[in-house]
């Protein structure tokens, strides 16, 4: 069942915020239709790494990215690349749920709307429905699609953000600590959802929870101080890591 096709490949990736180096020669391959977990202590560069993949670091003025990022073998870390269509292909879910201050419907239709994915209202309704269904939120909100997205609970908001991300049919979903602001029940729902989503999408998740990494991911990468220390199958990393530092981190001896 494991499909070893490489979806994303970074080579010698370096990121600088002003004078400060946030990532140091990261070489990482992310496999297609799998969940890859990135773990490591705070400030080690996990979030910076996933923000490189959809070029969200462009938003930050002082940020500079060097090295190569390939998606399906195409280099995306160059000026000519169109970030709009790149981000259409690579969705992102953030640490804190950030639904737009619009209705639930408008939150999901936002992406299809700006990318012109639906030619009429019927088609749009369909996209909204399938996206919400895929995000396991449809049954909870189908009767109140016109209510503001901010009126939902935290866990529902986060699933709404996932629905928003998958509404444009991306190939990759990046998740930056998606459960850190949620309670255990909402977390369980999102984790279940990720299991379902990985059949269709490639998922990269940043997490601080070791148990979450074990539960949801097939491969795990351990970052420390801007360097990728070790990457392997999740089983190997958590049972028998090669690196002493990884061992120390997952057993809670530092970090």
């Amino acid at each position: 069942m494991i499909n070893n096709k490489v979806k994303i490949k970074t080579t010698n990736l370096n990121v600088y915020y002003g004078d400060k180096q946030a990532l140091n020669d990261v070489n990482l391959e992310i496999h297609s239709k799998e969940v890859t977990a990135l773990i490591g202590p705070s400030g080690c560069g996990k979030s910076t790494y996933i923000r490189c993949i959809n070029r969200m670091n462009d938003v930050i003025d002082i940020c500079r990215v060097t090295g190569s990022i390939e998606i399906d073998g195409n280099e995306i870390n160059k000026k000519e690349i169109d970030v709009v269509s790149l981000r259409e292909k690579i969705g992102m879910v953030f640490q804190k749920p950030n639904p737009f201050p619009k209705s639930i419907y408008d939150n999901v239709s936002y992406g299809p709307n700006i990318h012109g994915l639906a030619e009429n209202k019927v088609k749009m309704d369909e996209i909204v429905e399938t996206s919400l269904k895929k995000a396991a939120l449809w049954n909870e909100v189908k009767d109140r699609l016109n209510e503001p997205g901010t009126s939902l609970s935290g866990g529902q908001q986060q699933r709404l953000c996932i629905a928003r991300a998958i509404s444009v049919n991306p190939e990759v979903i990046l998740m930056d600590e998606p459960c850190s602001a949620l309670d255990p029940i909402a977390t369980a729902k999102i984790e279940e959802l990720m299991d379902e989503l990985k059949k269709t999408y490639t998922i990269v998740i940043v997490t601080h929870s070791m148990s979450q990494a074990v539960r949801v991911s097939q491969r795990t990468g351990f970052f420390h101080l801007g360097k990728l220390i070790e990457v392997d199958t999740t089983e190997k990393i958590f049972k028998n890591p090669n690196n002493k530092m990884t061992q120390d981190y997952i057993t809670g001896r530092f970090g």
Binding site: N54, M56, F94, N98, I114, P148, T150
Partner: protein
């Protein structure tokens, strides 16, 4: 005299602070008890009790003293004399007595005035003496009361907290009462005016020329005179002129202000922002009178010259010039406020939009702008009420003739301009001409109030709440 008393009270209150602080410390040590609050709080408690009641009484006293003395003097004059005086004559005599007492009276000195001045002097010294006695008693009582509390180790922290709460409440009460007072002053004068001029003639009449309204006695107006009079007080041209000039100003200020606000909040880098924002805000610091002569001496004549080249008749005091300059004046309000509200929209919303592949302008149009809309509407309405209330520019640049026109090249006038025109120079306070200024003020106030209310409702209804 009052100054000396205040200084004394303050000095006493400050020294009581230190007294109370050391006193409670000593007691705590000698009795081996724990104080309920920091020693400073006992100091504050005692010094506030020393000063506040006394100062309050002093203020009340100072407000009422002159009128009480006046009443006594009036009584004295009327009591001694066989002849009766009416109120204004009494006032005159009182003024004469006062100026004689202070030594700058220049008229003929009569027996009556000398006697009056003597009693004025004695009343003053009685007042002075009783004031000091009263204040001293109050200070002694309040200080003893507070001291007793302190010696019983009261909850000084909570009590001081309560006193401050009371002080703040009184301050807000003063603000509210002042507002209500102003409204009532407007209202009463306006009622006098509307007892002469029908309110509908005032609101819907189309001819305004208060200069020709000479009314001696409002109760003896014949129907013919009234027909003439109501043509002097029709305010439609003024409202039309005000709205028209405000509209021109908003047409200039809203797009420029809003777009520059968006540019500064979303596109400008830190360096540009650092310099451009203060520069735009300098516009807000220019006195309106400077804008006024800029409009009257530069912009107005400029438009007239251009108009002449095209064979257009342009008045040198045009609505266009006034509105345009007013618009420039308002730009910084809108740009600075909308910049602030746009900045207050959380970055996470922008990230969410970018992450799904929206461009910068799409993000601004569809996410940032709607989220910031209530604030932006608020800033625009603030600007509208400024435009309506603005006086100096229109007085200098818009003209005085109340023309009912929609031609921006003609001169028009506004409510504020007319209020200025009516109230400049010597006034008789019981003529409808003067009272019409109050009626105009009241209408203006009412219009702004309605505008603000509508704005609040709109903002509330269409608010897109983030967080």
């Amino acid at each position: 005299m009052n100054l000396a008393i205040i200084v004394l009270i303050v000095l006493f209150s400050i020294s009581s602070f230190f007294f109370a602080r050391t006193k409670v410390k000593k007691i705590a040590i000698s009795n081996q008890t724990k104080l309920n609050a920091l020693p400073d709080y006992y100091g504050f408690y005692l010094s506030l009790w020393c000063a506040l009641p006394a100062l309050l009484i002093l203020i009340v006293w100072t407000i009422f003293e002159p009128s009480i003395i006046k009443a006594f003097i009036f009584q004295g004059i009327s009591g001694e004399n066989a002849q009766t005086y009416n109120n204004s004559e009494l006032n005159l005599i009182y003024q004469q007595i006062k100026s004689f007492h202070f030594g700058y009276f220049t008229g003929t000195i009569t027996e009556e005035i000398i006697r009056g001045a003597e009693s004025y002097k004695s009343f003053l010294s009685i007042a002075q003496g009783s004031k000091i006695v009263l204040l001293a008693t109050i200070i002694i009582f309040t200080t003893l009361y507070a001291l007793k509390k302190i010696l019983n180790n009261n909850k000084a922290r909570e009590d001081v907290e309560k006193i401050f709460k009371g002080l703040l409440f009184v301050c807000s009460l003063v603000a509210i009462l002042t507002t209500i007072g102003i409204i009532f002053a407007l209202l009463f004068e306006s009622i006098k005016f509307f007892s002469v001029i029908n309110i509908f003639d005032f609101l819907f009449g189309t001819s305004w020329s208060p200069q020709r309204a000479f009314v001696r006695d409002a109760s003896t107006i014949t129907a013919e005179e009234y027909a003439d009079l109501k043509n002097a007080f029709g305010t439609v041209p003024l409202f039309a002129g005000t709205a028209f000039i405000a509209l021109i100003a908003m047409i200039v200020a809203v797009p420029i202000g809003l777009f520059s606000g968006i540019y500064m909040a979303e596109y400008a880098n830190t360096k540009v922002r650092k310099y451009s924002k203060p520069i735009i805000e300098i516009l807000a610091g220019i006195p309106t009178v400077v804008y006024g002569f800029f409009a009257a001496l530069t912009v107005g004549p400029f438009f007239r010259e251009i108009g002449e080249k095209f064979g257009l008749e342009v008045s040198s005091e045009s609505a266009l010039a006034a509105g345009l300059v007013m618009g420039v004046m308002i730009i910084p309000y809108i740009s600075s406020l909308s910049d602030d509200v746009i900045n207050a929209v959380p970055q996470s919303l922008r990230d969410g939009s970018y992450a799904i592949g929206a461009t910068k302008s799409e993000t601004i149009k569809r996410v940032v702008f709607p989220a910031a809309l209530p604030g932006i509407v608020g800033s625009v309405l603030l600007a509208v009420s400024r435009a309506i209330g603005e006086t100096m520019i229109v007085v200098m640049a818009a003209g005085l003739a109340a023309n009912l026109t929609l031609n921006p090249l003609e001169s028009t006038t506004t409510i504020t301009t007319q209020i200025v025109m009516i109230l400049v120079g010597d006034q008789e306070f019981d003529s409808p001409k003067t009272q019409s200024a109050f009626a105009l003020g009241l209408t203006l106030f009412f219009a702004t109030l309605v505008l603000n209310y509508i704005a609040l409702r709109v903002v509330k209804k269409y608010r897109e709440k983030y967080e």
